[in-house]
Subunit: 452 residues, 2 copies
């Protein structure tokens, strides 16, 4: 009988396993882990704090270590691999998919790397070295070399006989690649087409010659975008001479699509590389400190701007009280525009031809927003502080800052991109600096002109 969903991993399971572990019921935990699919064990490891994670890992029979490592996310995987003996790593990675093997080797510190590499058997070492020859994050580094290739002059029947002899096809094979005698890719035949064809038809007549191949040097993110756009299950990878090198499958691309989408969100608060929710404290503090340091500089910059207006501030405490409102609203409005533009850049939607429309659109929104919130804040301040000049001043500052927010939200990420700086990483902090400074200048500046 097929498994009902209820029998697969639930959060309840994880809760119970952690409780059992804490109560020292190791045999129970070991048995439970052994009866689970590797992907569920991987999920449990990813959802556990570091100590619990290692405790679980040690209860898992080493013969399953390989398949579980394959399922883990990069950060969590390397946190485990770094604790293992080189021989144990070599053993666990035996026969692993080329891309996972290369990724594990890349995550190791230099001395372990060499040791593990030399402990691999000849075939795995050869495969790993081939994958490591491609740059990290390139299509070549995530491809698998286990493709099934056929020649155009054979018939469907011959191919089917050949497949029956092989008995085992690589995971997620949906197409066979047709190559000439020099291994140049000339087309593909989907399994769907193959099984639905008459036995005597020749592959040359059946094959699809429109197949789009991915160059091994393309970035994995670009390749993932192509998978997403074209709804591919797998795609062939070729070198510059169009020689077939391997194939990429959708399951590896799904991880990259998710990581790329998450990347912007994480980068915007400076968590760029912190993929592991339960990373050790010192490691996390270090990673986050850079961002806090940058923010301290911007906060000090804003304080310096306020410092210019010490005179007016010392005479009118009400300005100190209202001084944070305009920068705060500008920051939020600017970050809305910025987030939208960062996402559009990530999707490849922002181009020279439509930048102007985007800028005009966001500028208009900034003006509209500026008018709405200027009127509202003028009303509130007018009633609260019974001062019409003050109300006019804060309204003017709000309008200025909203327009500045709209312009900065579009231009800052575009400028950063031009200089090859990740807009998600640096955009938000630069934008906030701009909206803080413009907001404070507009508010305190006009206050010192009209209220003194």
């Amino acid at each position: 009988m097929p498994e009902a969903y209820e029998q697969t991993l639930s959060n309840q399971t994880l809760h119970e396993l952690t409780a059992s572990l804490n109560r020292g019921m190791f045999v129970h935990v070991r048995n439970a882990l052994h009866n689970m699919p590797a992907c569920d064990v991987a999920f449990i490891l990813e959802s556990s704090p570091v100590k619990t994670r290692f405790a679980f890992w040690q209860l898992i029979d080493s013969e399953f270590h390989g398949e579980i490592l394959e399922e883990l996310s990069e950060d969590v995987r390397s946190s485990i691999v770094r604790q293992m003996m080189p021989e144990a790593v070599a053993e666990a990675t035996e026969g692993m998919d080329t891309d996972d093997l290369a990724e594990i080797l890349r995550s190791l510190p230099e001395h372990l790397y060499q040791e593990v590499l030399s402990s691999l058997d000849a075939q795995d070492r050869h495969r790993a070295e081939a994958a490591l020859a491609y740059e990290e994050y390139s299509a070549g580094s995530v491809m698998n070399t286990d493709t099934v290739t056929i020649r155009p002059d054979v018939t469907v029947e011959v191919v089917l006989r050949y497949l029956r002899m092989r008995t085992n096809l690589p995971k997620n094979t949906d197409s066979l690649y047709v190559v000439d005698k020099d291994d140049v890719l000339i087309g593909d035949v989907s399994l769907i087409k193959l099984v639905a064809s008459q036995p005597e038809v020749e592959i040359g007549q059946l094959m699809d010659t429109d197949v789009v191949a991915i160059p091994a040097t393309m970035s994995e993110s670009e390749a993932a975008q192509m998978f997403e756009r074209h709804n591919w299950i797998s795609a062939p990878v070729v070198n510059e001479q169009n020689h077939l090198l391997g194939r990429i499958t959708i399951d590896d691309m799904v991880d990259i699509i998710r990581e790329d989408a998450e990347h912007s969100m994480m980068s915007m608060v400076g968590l760029d590389d912190e993929e592991d929710t339960f990373a050790p404290v010192v490691q996390s503090t270090q990673k986050r400190s850079i961002w806090l340091g940058v923010n301290l500089i911007t906060a000090l910059l804003a304080a310096t701007v306020s410092n210019f207006f010490e005179d007016v501030l010392s005479q009118l405490a009400v300005l100190a009280i209202l001084n944070t409102i305009v920068p705060s609203m500008g920051g939020v409005a600017g970050n809305q525009t910025l987030t939208l533009v960062i996402r559009a850049i990530a999707l490849g939607q922002v181009l020279p031809s439509n930048t102007r429309s985007l800028l005009i659109k966001e500028l208009t929104i900034g003006l509209l927003n500026g008018l709405i919130w200027a009127l509202l804040i003028a009303g509130i301040v007018g009633i609260w502080k019974q001062d019409l000049t003050l109300a006019a001043i804060i309204a003017f500052a709000m309008l200025m800052n909203m327009v500045a927010a709209g312009i900065s939200g579009v231009t800052i990420p575009l400028i950063l991109k031009k200089f090859n700086i990740d807009p998600a990483l640096a955009g938000s902090v630069i934008l906030t600096t701009v909206t803080d400074i413009v907001g404070i200048f507009a508010f305190l500046g006009s206050a010192s002109l009209f209220l003194m």
Copy 2:
């Protein structure tokens, strides 16, 4: 010859097409669009401002409208469909995948919805109504009903003969589903296994009975997480009696995986539903206003807190100048924790059993960060303002606020989740309110105690 990547859509193409459109070279644009795959035309429409988008759309022959609509993202698709005549929509959706057809109908305003539904031919209307019977965003609403089912008592040879007769298998078929006479799912056979098996083997012996089926009532996001975790290409959908209803394929899930990952980022700045980069100005302004309104309230709250300390502020302008630093640092540190926790919740990693570890971890980071930045800001203020008491006061406020940021970053999203409020949507604004108020209270409060 297989297409090289250079011949597929590049940003250059989009740039040239927009230029040609602006120069009025309609025939050229029309021909170019006709020679492109539907997914590339969809990309061009998504990357164009509203006016250009409609200009392109009108140049596309109506017989291609259907396949292009299938490739468009939801927001962009509904912006186009709302401009079309009901008959044109009905014509374009003829024979479309059930899930896309249902989604298009759902995006229509009520009066158009009925008109389009009644213009559909009987078969499409029947399929659409079946899909519409499932709740929006449920697995049932995204499934396709075009499954290939076989019985367990036939041989591989019979199945292959049957497939040859059908000649055309549904897109992305990687498995055939094995059902009994009541249509109850009892297993599946992958195409890979089928082509690699001897003709005389019976399906009952070959089939995999461990197949995990998705209940039609499961949410599409949960289903997408299962696809991601299990590396599926397709999965069967069943009702409560385990009757096979249809199947879901990875290409539809990839969109949901991306949308879910982006959702948190967009929500955090209140852009929840704005998927269309080039949405009209008024629509965008409205959507963003809610968020700005909420922020205005928090900014006013913070101003009210400062208002309590009007006395000390009016005597010491330096406090007004430094007043923004501590809230700003607390806001950044808190948002780092918040973003991490929101992502972990989205991935299903946060559970009662590990909440305590997470809280202790973030609290410790808060303390460590607090100490580091308290010392640094004390040094800076001590040197800048030549006032050791002031330096001690700002250091104390910094430490307090960093700890508050760590605690709030973990607890706020968890509490929101308990009350079924999206933590990504409301978390950031509540957290910032907390760090603003704690920061101002700690700084101005201790200043009024020790400096007056």
